[in-house]
Amino acid sequence: MKWSAKLEEKVFIGLLWASAILAILVLFSIVGHILINGIAGLSWEFITAEPSRMGKEGGILSIIIGTLYLTVASLIVATPIGVGSAIFLTEYAKKGRVVRVIRFATESLAAVPSIIFGLFGFVLFVITLGMGWSIISGALTIAFMILPTIIRAAEESIKMVPDSYREGSLALGASKWYTIRKVVLPSALPGIATGIILGIGRSIGETAAVILTAGSSLGLPTSVFDPTRTLSVHLYILASEGISMEKAYATATVLIILIISINFVANWLMAKLVGRVA
């Protein structure tokens, strides 16, 4: 009896170790496979040359620029709204129906699949408002998509700022908004930045919503009203239409390197936040 309980413990704890190791192996096999096959196609020329023959040859310059435009534009829209909303929810809102509705909406927004955002952006921006397939249509759509990410990260980090900071500032005669601006936000900054960086990651990785709103044109965009193609969309088209597996691997490698760097920076900032308010 006693022995079997001990055996059971050994077996199950062994299984838990095994599943954790398996999860790590899966990650390594995916990242490893893509890096090993893609690194050969990666060169200075690949990054700086325009694509030719539908991406079969040349590089990804216009795609990098398109991705950059789209990401920056979506952040310009989403950051103020997201941070403002987080400040309201943590510093101003009193418990009640309004806050419950706002929270429900934010949670729901986080659960909406990107393809639905794509449909929405398509019918509102591309068709109804006549913006066509363009960076601006794509950026607005992505901005709405990453809004919950930014709100949540900003909210969490603002909550982490100790009340004694606020009380100290208020006791010195500072107004509420002044306190938030000069005391709360600076302390919470690394956490807010983490949210923004996670938002960057999502907007770089998004494909479905971008195809429907920004299009998939290979040309070099000259303004936000031009259509464009992002890295993710490029990878999808290269792979699914079988245009060039070599270029697809190289594009996937660029994406993976970007995402790893983004995660690294986000973790670094988070450690900084914890160090600052603890």
Partner: protein, 290 residues
Amino acid sequence: MKKNSVHNRVSELVVEKALFFSAIIAVLIIVLIAIFVILSGWPLLQKVGFIQFVFGTVWNPTNGIYGIFPMVVGSILVTLGALVIGVPFGIAGAVFLAEIAPKKVAKFIRPAIELLAGIPSVVYGFYGLVVLVPFMRHYTGGSGFSVLAGSIILAIMILPTILNISENALKSVPKEFKEGSIALGANHWQTIKWISLPVARSGIVAGVVLGMARAIGETMAVIMVTGNVTRIPGSIFDPIRTLTGNIVMEMGYASGEHQQALFATGIILFIFIMLLNLVVQFISKGRCKA
């Protein structure tokens, strides 16, 4: 001095209103999404009939026949498959991180899980296309594009969701509960099985439901590995098309009634997701009260 304080009070009020307005935007967007997607698909739903649209088995836009039942079945099948594979691993990983992993090991695994969550879905799809599909073609026959391939890729993608939420739930189990169990002579595994997991149950369920919502809404990874055939599959080795796949595959060239039918597909997907989301919010509300 007095003038200054009035000025301050006014600007404080303006700021508060501005912040309130940014908080309301989330509400506005979700309402706009619902309105625009529903309005764009409504005429077709009305013409074909809701029941006929959802349960019709033929999808033939060129001849004006719109039935999405094969896609409904496809979405449900890949999602269930992903849960069957992903849930045990997600929960096991959560228990491992919350209860067993030495600090050094946890420090190594957590960033790995974060990275897993950050990898774009199109990269997962690409990996599935170049590794998993050929592998399955070799060992299971057929084209390799299948329900199973979709389920495996989705299982990997929802793993971080299930794992993170379950881990948080497990960590919030009061220490006294576990200590009491150990003091009564239970070993570590018995404590996990009889105390930690049951107490954290509602949190774990919330994680699983959120994972489910993610799986059913996932688009790019799925269309790259499932083959996108609009037929009800006979086995898990057959190709299928999901609701999300249906929208993104045909939106590029659809117009008129066909386009409305794709929006109607979006409505059905939206209903699925909202139901799952309500379930999650209901579960976590119950947990706060407990």
